[in-house]
Amino acid sequence: MTKKILIVDDEPNIVMSLEYTFKKQGFEVFIARDGSEALEILKDHTPNVVLLDIMMPNVDGYQTLTFIKESESLKHIKVVFLTAKNKASDVEKGLKLGADKYLTKPFSVKKIVSEILELVT
């Protein structure tokens, strides 16, 4: 069965690299540029994993995560933060809110892929 991933980030260049890589790994990739677009997509699709930036306009990463984890139909979805916020307090906050993993920018694409694969297989 094809794995589905939702990438939520407002930086198109970063999204492009991630999209290319995950597609090559055989993922079905959904793209959202902020939290509100992500929630829009989640109405119709149920990805295995959501790769989520935190600092975004409109609905930010924290809000998106909370929404997912509080929804009965969505809370089984794995959520991974991918953010430039790398302070210990930020990490702690993210995990406390229910994120499954907390990865920081800049990142190694290979590492991201292996972390995601670890989660979904």
Binding site: N13, I14, P57
Partner: protein, 895 residues
């Protein structure tokens, strides 16, 4: 007028005075009793019967020589603000009750000195009181028309009864309190009233004589100027007369401070220092008014009576001669008023001195120590009352024996010369700390003896022996010892002569013995306090240097004997509270000793207070050197305390400044952290993009070429972004830390706007946004063009960012205001949300209403813009209440 009628009038008048005194005592706090006018009028106790009757006598016989006696006080009055204020302050501090107390305290509570001053004052005042009695007696005879009758015994002499009545009045209102330093409001109020009445009546008789009996002043002058020896009476004469005048003025200048009654009203009865301010001009005015008519009355009397009548009583004789009994009665009452106030105040002052400086310290102290407090206070009052009666009766007998033969004027001057012997130790002691008790005592005794020899002895010997040998040939026939021409000085009048020699010897003795003797430590201690009365208020109880051992309980015992248990306890409680000592302190310190002495001084005088306290404490002698050292230290302490206080104030000011600065720093630090955080975040984003794209290309060799190109383009874009970001951060830092210097040159703002529009035209046309340059007039001012271009470009790019594609329109405009150019950039985009107004110029603030999701900018644009504008001393703001879009405005000021 019938003599009984006169007696009845006298009794009614006295009853009225009793009533007024009673009222004043009852309403002690009323402003009718406590005001500068009452104070000034009470000072006019200076004008006794001598002034009232005697001046006219002198004016008639020797012309204007009556004047120096008033010129002295007039000259002294302005000095009161300095000298008298100092005296009043010291007296209040130490609860001084008389001039004897004052002088004895200055010279270290010297018991003998206090007694000596008292004796001198007695000698000086008794004849003076007798003078008053003489005036009453003689005027009584004149007004009652009873010239023929001469009283032979005391019992049927009306003067004796009048004297007794005065004694009762003084005793009743003068001894209400045991503490003689308390105010005597009743007596002061009556004195003030009497001063007013005597002036009014004198002015009335003066007006009556000058304008009713005669035809004004010029009429009298014309008539008198044709009589013999007129010239002598109106001119000063030779140089000798100048000397006489000088010495008389000096004499009256001194005694207006020293007379016991003047000290009583001016110092002891003073309520508020500020009353002095009014007194210094009002009192001279009073004296002036009193003397206006003197010379005319004298001339009028001479014209009317020739030299048949006693000129001193012209004021009384003239109205009687013309049958105006009413006016004569008023004059009599005026003179009587002058007598009463003088006699009452003088006896009050003297009785306090006699009791506190003579009787108590020399006889009754031991008795007091054994007695109960109630009895002590009764005793003290009794002593004062007995003193009052004794003084007045003694004055009466002096009058009977001596004064009948003398003129009012000469008796008055004898008093003045005797009292003036206090002057050197009193005045110099106030300002010279070396003045010692030995000098004071010897000076006074020498001066006093000379005054007696040159002034009193001649007429007493004459009265006894009936010859004037002594006066004519001097003591044992020695020429140089002639009492009126000592050492050949024969050109002065007897009083001036006596004053000159006595005061000269007094002064020299005082200075010489002061310089020769070291003085004991206590004396030097008080000397420092008196002389240095500026520090005095600071030093207060600390000022007394004292070493020894004393128990609070013992001191309390002594206090209780005189003040009563309750007052003693209360006083000690106040003392302990004031100095923050425990209420059950056992050992007394110097402050308590000084405090207790002061408390007792009011009741029993300073010398007795010292002896009493000394009886219960074990005092150690301290050397003079030690005293001076301690005094010096306490002065230094005060100075250094002051300095310390200033320093501590400075420090606390600095501390609060530091606190503020620290808070500011913490704030700045927090801002800096946030700034770094944001900068790091902003830098990471393009780096992440670059790293990810590079990795993807590297790992995928089979990547299609067009995708590879896209990734490489992304890398380039992110690299540019990184570069821009770094440049902006550096710019911003430079601006923020002030490292940037503006290159101010005259520039045309219109041209700069054009350049800015040109630089953004490419992005604008891409988004199809229209930019309009509204104001095409050139205007040249000074600014840094590159920087202003940066401002304009930032504002324009922002505006473009917020505009809708195709419909977007931006209008750039400028206008000239009051010494500023105001440039505005208005767009028709989404506008600025109200809650963002205050934040838009903050660094890294990014509006929620941005059209493109991720702005091209660094988040520093507007912050940098603001910095640049402010560097040009301009302002930048977003216009509020704009219907649609946003309008950003900035100003550049110009001269």
């Amino acid at each position: 007028m019938n003599s009984y009628a006169v007696i009845i009038i006298i009794i009614i008048y006295l009853a009225m005075l009793f009533y007024i005194a009673f009222l004043a005592e009852k309403k002690r706090q009323s402003k009718w009793v406590n005001n500068p006018y009452v104070y000034t009028l009470s000072l006019a106790v200076y004008c006794s019967a001598w002034t009232y009757y005697g001046s006219v006598g002198i004016a008639a016989n020797s012309g204007i020589h009556f004047l120096p006696i008033y010129l002295g006080p007039v000259i002294a009055a302005p000095l009161w603000i300095v000298v008298l204020r100092k005296i009043i302050r010291i007296s209040k501090q130490h609860k001084i009750s008389s001039i004897a107390d004052f002088i004895s305290l200055r010279y270290g509570n010297n018991r003998f000195l206090g007694a000596l001053v008292t004796v001198i004052c007695l000698f000086g005042t008794l004849p003076y009181i007798s003078l008053q009695l003489k005036a009453v007696s003689e005027t009584f005879e004149i007004i009652s028309g009873d010239n023929s009758y001469v009283s032979t015994t005391v019992i049927d002499d009306s003067t004796f009864y009048i004297a007794l009545l005065l004694a009762i009045f003084a005793a009743f209102f003068g001894t209400q309190n045991t503490d003689a330093s308390e105010k005597h409001k009743g007596i002061v109020a009556t004195v003030a009233l009497e001063s007013m009445l005597k002036l009014l009546f004198f002015l009335a008789i003066g007006t009556y004589i000058t304008f009713y009996l005669f035809d004004g002043t010029s009429d009298i002058y014309e008539k008198i100027s044709v009589t013999d020896n007129f010239k002598e009476l109106t001119t000063l004469g030779k140089v000798e007369d100048g000397f006489n005048w000088f010495f008389m003025i000096a004499l009256s200048f001194m005694v207006v401070f020293l007379l016991p009654r003047q000290f009583q009203v001016a110092v002891l009865e003073n309520n508020r220092e500020k009353h002095l301010k009014k007194a210094i001009w009002l009192f001279p005015l009073y004296l002036l008014l009193f003397n206006i008519f003197v010379i005319f009355i004298a001339w009028a009397g001479k014209l009317t009576f020739g030299s048949t009548e006693n000129a001193e009583y012209y004021t009384l004789l003239l109205p009687l001669e013309y049958g105006n009994t009413f006016l004569a009665t008023l004059v009599f009452l005026g003179g009587f008023s002058a007598v009463i106030s003088m006699v009452v105040v003088s006896t009050l002052a003297l009785s306090t001195m006699v009791s506190n400086n003579l009787v108590i310290p020399y006889g009754f102290l031991d008795k007091f120590i054994k007695n109960q407090p109630e009895r002590n206070s009764k005793y003290i009052k009794t002593i004062r009352r007995v003193s009052i009666f004794t003084i007045i009766i003694a004055a009466y007998f002096f009058y009977v024996i001596f004064s009948k033969a003398l003129s009012l004027y000469s008796i008055g001057l004898i008093s003045f010369v005797i009292i003036s012997q206090l002057a050197p130790s009193f005045f110099i002691g106030l300002y010279w700390n070396r003045g010692s008790s030995k000098g004071a005592i010897i000076g006074m005794i020498v001066g006093f003896c000379i005054a007696i020899y040159t002034l009193v002895l001649p007429f007493t010997l004459e009265a006894y022996t009936g010859t004037d040998d002594f006066r004519q040939y001097g003591l044992m026939g020695i020429e140089a010892l002639k009492p009126y021409a000592l050492f050949g000085i024969d050109f002065l009048s007897p009083p001036a002569h006596a004053f000159f020699w006595s005061i000269t010897f007094n002064l020299f003795s005082y200075l010489m013995f002061s310089l020769m003797s070291k003085g004991n430590y206590r004396e030097r201690n008080y000397a420092e306090m008196f002389v240095d009365s500026k520090n005095f208020t600071n030093l207060q109880d600390n000022a007394l240097v004292w070493k020894g051992e004393a128990y609070v309980a013992d001191i309390k015992n002594v206090l209780a004997r005189f003040l009563g248990e309750k007052r003693a306890n209360r006083a000690l409680k106040i003392f302990f509270t004031k100095y923050k000592l425990s209420q059950d302190t056992q050992l007394a310190d110097a402050r308590l000793i000084n405090f207790s002495e002061k408390l007792l001084t009011g009741s029993i005088g300073s010398a007795s207070a010292k002896i009493l306290i000394a009886s219960v404490v074990k005092e150690e002698q301290i050397s003079l050197v030690e005293v001076l050292k301690i005094l010096e230290e306490s002065k230094e302490n005060i100075v250094s305390n002051k300095v310390l206080l200033e320093k501590s104030n400075e420090l606390s000011q600095l501390t609060s400044q530091l606190k503020e600065a620290n808070e500011e720093l913490i704030d700045k630090d927090k801002q800096k952290d946030e700034f770094l955080d944001t900068v790091a975040h902003e830098l990471k984003t393009p780096i992440t993009g670059i790293r990810a794209a590079a990795e993807v290309i590297l790992d995928d060799e089979e990547m299609p070429k067009e995708i590879k190109v896209q990734f490489l383009k992304n890398i380039l874009q992110d690299s540019d972004r990184l570069g821009r970001l770094i440049k902006n951060i550096l710019d911003f830092e430079k601006l923020e830390t002030g490292g940037l210097h503006l290159d101010l040159q005259p520039q045309d703002i219109q041209k700069t706007i054009g350049k800015a529009i040109a630089s953004v035209s490419q992005i604008a046309s891409k988004k199809e946004v229209l930019i309009v340059n509204n104001n095409m007039h050139p205007f040249v001012i000074n600014y840094d063009e590159d920087r202003i271009l940066q401002v304009l470009t930032n504002l324009l790019s922002n505006a473009i960012k917020f505009c809708e594609t195709k419909t977007g329109k931006i209008i750039v405009d400028y206008k000239i205001g009051n010494q500023v150019v105001e440039i505005s950039v208005a767009d028709n985009g989404k506008g600025i949300p109200e809650e963002d107004f205050i934040y838009i110029f903050d660094k890294f603030y990014q509006s929620k209403n941005q059209n493109t999701r991720k702005p091209e900018g660094s988040g520093l644009g507007l912050a940098i813009t603001k910095q640049i504008v402010e560097k040009h001393k301009g302002k930048i703001w977003a216009k509020k209440d704009i219907k649609n879009g946003a309008t950003l405005v900035f100003t550049i000021p110009f001269e």
